[in-house]
């Protein structure tokens, strides 16, 4: 069902959408979700490890 016209968060008139959301069956959803979960887990792990700032970074100098 197309959306009602509304002004979006960027302040522009978004208008009616011309595309459709996906409607996948449970079996397809299950297969896709398993693959997606692996990607998500890997990305979250990387983001988590990036929170630790190294000693080298703390000692970076800005002299120019």
């Amino acid at each position: 069902m197309p959306t009602q016209p509304q002004r979006g968060s960027e302040g522009v008139h978004a208008g009616r959408r011309t595309w459709e959301f996906r409607d996948v069956d449970p079996a397809t959803a299950e297969a896709e979700l398993h693959l997606r979960a692996v990607e998500v887990e890997r990305r979250v792990e990387k983001l988590e490890s990036a929170k630790t700032v190294s000693q080298d970074t703390l000692k970076l100098e800005f002299r120019v």
Partner: protein, 515 residues
């Protein structure tokens, strides 16, 4: 009685600007050789400057502090007072100004055409003191300068306003690049959080409170640790991000700058060394400027950073609002960069732009802002994983993630036209945390949902507390998947128990669940 220090009226031009900036300590020819005055000429020319009014014997608070801390004790005599150059985008004569000042003339045209001012310091080099200049026009909404504020200059009793962020060049004695970047940031944080605006000398002294490798003054630059110390000294907290190949750097800087918080960007200027800038604006294209925001082909949720093609930064070696053009991932020695910049630093021998390789981002935040952009990105990565079952694969999908205040958020939500007044009312009338992370999911240019997260909470404990369904189809389709028994195990593991339960509750009905 005649005025001993009458204002000087000069038609704007390269020679007149350099002459007005010069002093007994620094000739017009010396000024003309320096890159910052050259940049200012180009910048003001672009803004359409026509007249310079020079206010002589101007006492500048920041220079006065530098003077008291250093220059007064030099054997060489340096002046205590500066000149202040005011710029207008129209021709003005002394008679016209006097008619406004003392004969009740209409100041409208003067006020409208005011471009800002530059304080000229009476030093042998680094003559550009506190500088407040109007930004470039927004170019149809492409350019944004959120980290600005309104400055009012009083010219002989006439109030002249300018929206900008103050800039100055480093004098290499009391301030190096990082000190100036901090000084610029503190101008805006004072506006946002009512914190102090220390002078460059005070910042350098504060930065060297705990860690110092040699004398702090004359200053030879600051380390990341020292920048953090200087930020704590004004009552703020340094949010520190190391830039590596997986850093969604454009989206990160945008997320804080969108809240009007200037961001300190540390870069390695290729072939020159470490340098710090204060990022205060960005340019968003309607379409993507980058295919991928991080290095390689790893999965990263698509965010607004993909549409940013330029940032604008106060670079004390270049000038105010200098351009940083965004380029896709590249290598530099052993480092793989998510993006890199160029646009301002030129190699004098080859004429080529030098690469600016990002190393670190430091954001001076209010102590109650505890949940970081990285925390929010983690939660959104999980949400995006679940939404991938619902979202179209052939449309431009974008998460617009930014920090804001509850007051600003309500102000913006009120502007949005919505047929769903009940849910609008629900979100506007309820109390919110003082600082909020807003994450708007946009598909093919249309907002489909928005998640609100408590920025004052705990990053690891699920900070999302509100969903604004802007298209009910996304809610109903997601509701079906989160209630499918064969998907529950994978969804619980991918989302985490708290986020899964949150979605279970919030997808139940288009209306917010009962409190």
């Amino acid at each position: 009685m005649s005025n001993p220090n009458p204002p000087e009226f000069l038609p704007f031009g390269e020679a007149s600007l350099f002459s007005a900036l010069s002093d007994a300590s620094c000739s017009s020819a010396d000024v003309a050789r320096q890159p910052r005055p050259q940049y200012l000429y180009r910048y003001l020319n672009e803004l359409g400057a026509r007249t310079i009014i020079v206010e002589s014997e101007y006492t500048d608070r920041d220079y006065l502090d530098d003077y008291a801390n250093y220059y007064v004790r030099c054997f060489e005599l340096y002046k205590r007072q500066c000149k202040r150059l005011h710029f207008f985008a129209l021709d003005i004569s002394a008679d016209q100004l006097l008619s406004v000042l003392v004969k009740g003339g209409d100041p409208g045209r003067l006020v409208e055409n005011y471009l800002g001012f530059v304080v000229a310091r009476p030093l042998p080099y680094a003559v550009i003191g506190r500088t407040v200049l109007r930004t470039y026009p927004d170019d149809g909404g492409r350019r944004s300068y959120p980290c600005t504020k309104t400055y009012t200059a009083n010219l002989y009793g006439l109030d002249l306003s300018c929206t900008s962020l103050a800039f100055q060049e480093q004098d290499t004695v009391l301030a190096a690049c990082a000190t100036v970047a901090l000084w610029c940031c503190f101008q805006k944080t004072a506006d946002l959080f009512e914190t102090r605006t220390p002078t460059p000398a005070e910042i350098t002294q504060a930065a060297n409170t705990n860690i110092h490798y040699g004398r702090p003054i004359p200053s030879r630059g600051l380390m990341v640790q020292q920048i953090c110390t200087a930020i704590r000294h004004v009552g703020l907290e340094p949010e520190l991000f190391e830039v590596n190949e997986d850093t969604a750097l454009s989206s990160l800087m945008y997320a804080y700058a969108r809240m009007q918080l200037p961001v300190i960007l540390g870069v390695d200027v290729e072939g020159v060394g470490g340098h710090a800038l204060a990022v205060c604006g960005f340019s968003r294209r309607p379409d993507r400027a980058l295919r991928q925001e991080i290095a390689g082909s790893e999965f990263c949720i698509p965010m607004t950073g993909l549409r940013i093609d330029e940032f604008y930064a106060h670079d004390d070696q270049i000038g105010p609002f200098s351009r940083l053009v965004v380029h896709p991932s590249a290598s530099s020695g052993e480092r793989v960069l998510p993006i890199w910049f160029d646009g301002s630093w030129q190699d004098a021998t080859t004429g080529q732009f030098r690469r600016l390789l990002p190393t670190v981002v430091i954001v001076p935040v209010y102590n109650k802002i505890r949940v970081t952009f990285t925390d929010i990105q983690e939660w959104l990565t999980r949400v995006h994983g679940a939404l991938s079952l619902v979202l179209p694969t052939d449309e431009m999908i974008e998460w617009d993630v930014f920090l804001t205040t509850s007051n600003e958020m309500k102000r913006e939500l009120r502007q949005e036209v919505s047929e769903d007044t009940v849910r609008h009312e629900a979100v506007l009338l309820r109390p919110h945390p003082r600082f909020v992370w807003r994450s708007v999911l946009r598909v093919g240019g249309t907002d489909v949902l928005e998640l609100l997260a408590d920025a004052t909470g705990i990053g690891h404990a699920m900070p999302m507390y509100w969903v604004f369904w802007k298209d009910d189809v996304v809610r109903s389709r997601l509701a079906k998947h989160v209630r499918t028994s064969t998907l529950e195990g994978t969804l619980r593991s991918m989302l985490g128990e708290r986020l899964y339960d949150f979605l279970l509750v919030w997808t139940k009905s288009p209306s917010p669940p009962p409190a």
